[in-house]
Amino acid sequence: KLRAFFTTMEKVSEKFAAYFNRLTNGVAWLRLVDETKPSDSGVEVIVQFPGKPQRSLRSVSGGERSVAAVSLLMALQGLTPADFYIFDEVDAHMDVAYTVALAELLKEMSKKTQIIIVSLKDVLAEKADQLIGVYIDRGESRIIKTKLEDVAVD
């Protein structure tokens, strides 16, 4: 059981580092809080953004946390792959640079896995294979299939 835990932690840490590096050019990993108690120590998430010292995930900025959390989630999902992802406004606190990096990563992943993402940002909509607008009409939700140029912000 303990061996299975360490193998899994190792795998998640590696995938996490790969996704995080892809999105931010930084490095990231998982480590035990207390190396002397391997069977019940907590696990800390460490991130190092380019040009900055390493920090625990809990003490970085809002946008930095979003980008790290998405990377971690993809790493966890990688161990028991399902064939689709559904994200709801994970880009809300990300700046343009991270949103573009996320859009590019998702576009690439979507060649193998179906990815559905709810977003209010054009940067995401531009990369979509399929863009669906959801709105209220006479008190009920309706949908329209659109291209980006159709939903251009008025």
Partner: protein, 164 residues
Amino acid sequence: VYIKKLSLHGFKSFGQRKVTFELLKGLIVITGPNGGGKSNVLDAIRFVMGELSPHALRVGRLSELVHDDGKGRAAYARVSITLDNSEKALPIEADEVTITRKIYQNGESEYYINGRSASRGELLMLLSAANIRSSGYNILPQGAILNIAEMNPDDMRKLIEDVA
């Protein structure tokens, strides 16, 4: 297994006029104004996969999932999802599997697999063959991203143990 079709009828903000999404296998972006019904689409997907927690579906009680236009609630809410099964990841002899869940005002649910009535347990068994769960890490509700970032080390350990 990917989602080919999703149709909502009387589910939350989706009313009597049935709405159907035909989905591709690539990158799908759902956009639109605040309060339009985007997150309700995610709720519908978790609902049809057997989700029982009102909190996870952002309601107080399950009966609140049935569309309410202010003058009264519809009789029931119904969501169907069609999954691609060409690689036979789901143990059913068919290229597509359609799951339907219907819920009445009293909170009672009925489940159907390819038109045949089924129990929730049977549905969950079927979906687990392809690693599909309504609370899986592949479905991330609005705002949940920040919860992951604020997780304490002990919870993170449990998370890794779960996946092991």
